[in-house]
């Protein structure tokens, strides 16, 4: 275990594990955290996992970890690592099984006061329209040809099918479609798992949440995004479902042989990797992009059904019940981007596992309205606590490969949460706080209790004070749907 005494304090919000800490580290590990957060992080094995991540071949700069960091498998959750393109490696385990797991935020002009009595009904309608829970299948069964189109076109497939508007796509990372998807590199098993899961939320920590904008910190940015104090927003957190899980499973398995072929020695088999310019690396990139496109399409179809739930519940009761897209971000992805490293612009593959892309003002790939304010960074909380809308900064571009945090970050094990929290009591407690919950599984809900997470406000304060994000608005949950 890494002892806190072995960390070098840079300032109140930043720490470093030097590359001299262990002989096989290729770069240092840079941690964004307060002393208190660091002490919480040090309770599990996440710092050791960050040190292991620093051994990947072809790394540039430093491995970064966000304040919501916690223990995962192989690579820590909250980790960011950039490898030189195309000679460096790509590691499926450093992206995660839920490829392009991400968050979508929709804004509205609906005032909370106008719909306070309809919140239970709204939560029930969202639950009905957006299938969630273990093994839940969607209402669409895609043919092989349609699956191929989803893999190639992502949310743009949804636009052609009438599930999206041009405005939705414009405000989606990569405009809802990763180029470079290669369906031929996706196994038949992965495709078959995806065929009946489009438009489903899944289980675990995935959710749909209605929030109210509690406080606006940046009026100009909030206005550009179309959100205002007292109005409702809708947040969708999910990813590529069984399709992405299978793609990652397939490539973590096949890369076990690749590391031997390329003479790569790693401290953990879950970190297996292959050079991006190798046949194995190219195959995974093609399959990963296909899974990312499936996730973009999935969140888009869920947003379509969430809009139906809003219409069904609120049309005729409030003046304008429509939901407009604020942004859709990925927080489990490997992306080839250009960043400044030691004064030179170089192409790298940024692995973000539980970390959000946070491009600053003027970055390529942002819609024109976000060019001035920077990319929206969506940080969900933990059901009972706040969620945040931030934006990327020049600091995130210079210091964190255009990345920031992705959530509150767990601090309590699932087994302890199960022992200490009862699902039905949690529902009652949240209700007393004005939060209406629809849950498919009470034990599953207990594992996701707010007390199992860090304080999201402190996590956000840390990235803001470290200069890798800026506050726009704080959201407060009023209705939650969980699988």
């Amino acid at each position: 275990m890494v002892a806190l005494s072995e960390l070098r304090r840079i300032n109140e919000f930043e720490w470093e594990i030097p590359s001299s800490f262990r002989a096989d580290m290729r770069v240092p590990v840079h941690i964004f955290a307060t002393r208190d957060l660091l002490e919480a992080i040090a309770q599990d094995k996440s710092l050791d996992q960050a040190v292991n991540a620093a051994t990947l071949p072809g790394l540039v700069g430093r491995v970064l970890v966000m304040p919501d960091m916690h223990q995962g498998y192989g690579f820590p959750i909250g980790g960011v690592a950039a490898t030189q393109y195309p000679k460096g490696v790509i590691s499926p385990g450093a992206i995660g099984y839920d490829i392009n797991c991400g968050v979508r935020l929709l804004g509205s002009q609906i005032e909370l006061d106008a719909v306070a009595r309809e919140l239970d009904e709204l939560a029930a309608a969202l639950d009905r329209h957006c299938p969630s829970g273990v093994g839940q299948k969607g209402q669409y069964r895609l043919s092989n040809k349609e699956m191929e189109q989803v893999m190639l076109d992502g949310a743009q497939w949804a636009l052609k099918k009438g599930f999206a508007s041009e405005a939705d796509l414009r405000r989606t990372e990569e405009f809802g479609r990763m180029p470079g998807a290669e369906p031929g590199y996706v196994s038949p098993r992965a495709q078959s798992r995806g065929q009946d899961q489009l438009g489903t939320l899944g289980a675990g920590n995935h959710f749909i949440e209605v929030d109210v904008v509690d406080r606006v910190f940046d009026e100009q940015a909030a206005q550009v995004m179309g959100i205002a104090e007292g109005s409702l927003t809708l947040m969708i957190h999910c990813g590529s479902r069984g399709f992405g899980h299978q793609v990652c499973t397939d490539y973590v398995s096949s890369f076990q042989g690749a590391v031997q072929r390329y003479g790569i020695d790693l401290p953990d088999r879950e970190l297996v990797c292959a050079p991006m310019d190798s046949a194995e690396g190219k195959a995974y990139m093609g399959a990963m992009h296909a899974a990312a496109n499936f996730a973009f399409a999935n969140r888009q179809v869920l947003a379509y059904h969430a809009r139906q739930a809003f219409e069904e519940t609120l049309a005729g009761r409030v003046k304008n019940w429509h939901l407009h897209q604020v942004y859709d971000i990925a927080h489990n992805m490997g992306k080839v981007e250009t960043h400044q490293v030691e004064g030179k612009a170089i192409k790298v593959c940024v692995h973000r596992k539980g970390a959000t892309r946070a491009f600053g003002p003027g970055s390529p790939g942002l819609p024109s309205e976000y060019q001035k304010i920077g990319q929206p960074v969506l940080v969900p909380g933990s059901m009972g606590t706040a969620s945040w809308v931030l934006v990327g900064t020049e600091g995130s571009m210079q210091r964190s490969f255009g990345s920031s945090c992705h959530g509150a970050g767990r601090t309590m094990s699932r087994s302890k949460a199960k022992q200490t929290v009862r699902g039905h009591e949690l529902i009652r407690e949240l209700k007393s706080q004005g939060i209406h919950v629809q849950a498919g599984s009470l034990p599953g809900l207990a594992e996701e209790a707010p007390q199992a997470y860090k304080d999201v406000d402190i996590v956000v304060e840390t990235v803001v004070r470290a200069g890798i994000a800026r506050k726009v608005a704080r959201l407060r949950p009023v209705a939650v749907v969980k699988g």
């Binding site: 599990d44 996440s46 916690h70 223990q71 995962g72 498998y73 192989g74 959750i77 385990g93 995660g96 099984y97 839920d98 273990v134 093994g135 098993r189 078959s192 798992r193 899944g202 289980a203 675990g204 069984g242 899980h245 990652c248 499973t249 973590v252 398995s253 076990q256 042989g257 953990d268 088999r269 879950e270 297996v272 767990r410 601090t411 309590m412 094990s413 699932r414 087994s415 302890k416 599984s441 034990p443 599953g444 699988g483």
Partner: protein, 138 residues
């Protein structure tokens, strides 16, 4: 627990995912215990009716790969066919597992496992037993 039972499994605390310690006298037993542990974590209850039999052959280059691939096959059958098993007859030889499984359709499935990981996975010999720690992505 390990000292008193020749084969078994127990949950280990993990911040974000689920983890199991599994032990048995041999590799075939270890695979069976891991399968039973995985189904218990998932909150599986089988239908009381018709029994279903399946044969599986799983290959890998090493014992850890056999364990991961075997469990991944069971997850696949669980998700795609809503099938789970409570009777295991496993034969392990030279990087191949041949399994005769008996079970039923799933009546209840409380929690989802996304994948079986290789995270720090090493099957080790401890006295008369083999042991491994598994991490599942949930």
């Amino acid at each position: 627990m390990i000292a008193t039972k020749p084969a078994g499994f127990e949950e280990i605390a993990h911040t974000a995912d689920w983890s199991l310690r599994v032990w048995a006298p041999d590799l075939a037993g270890l695979l069976e215990q891991a399968a039973r542990g995985m189904l218990e974590l998932s909150g599986i209850r089988l239908e009381a009716g018709k029994r279903i039999r399946r044969r599986l052959t799983v290959e890998s280059t090493d014992a850890e790969g056999l364990l991961v691939n075997f469990l991944a096959e069971l997850l696949h059958l669980l998700e795609q066919e809503e099938l789970a098993f409570d009777q295991y007859e496993l034969a392990v030889s030279e990087n191949v597992v041949k399994a005769n499984l008996e079970g039923a359709r799933v009546a209840e499935h409380k929690k989802e496992i996304k994948a079986v990981t290789y995270h720090n996975l090493k099957i080790v010999k401890k006295g008369a037993q083999v042991e491994a720690e598994l991490v599942f992505d949930v």
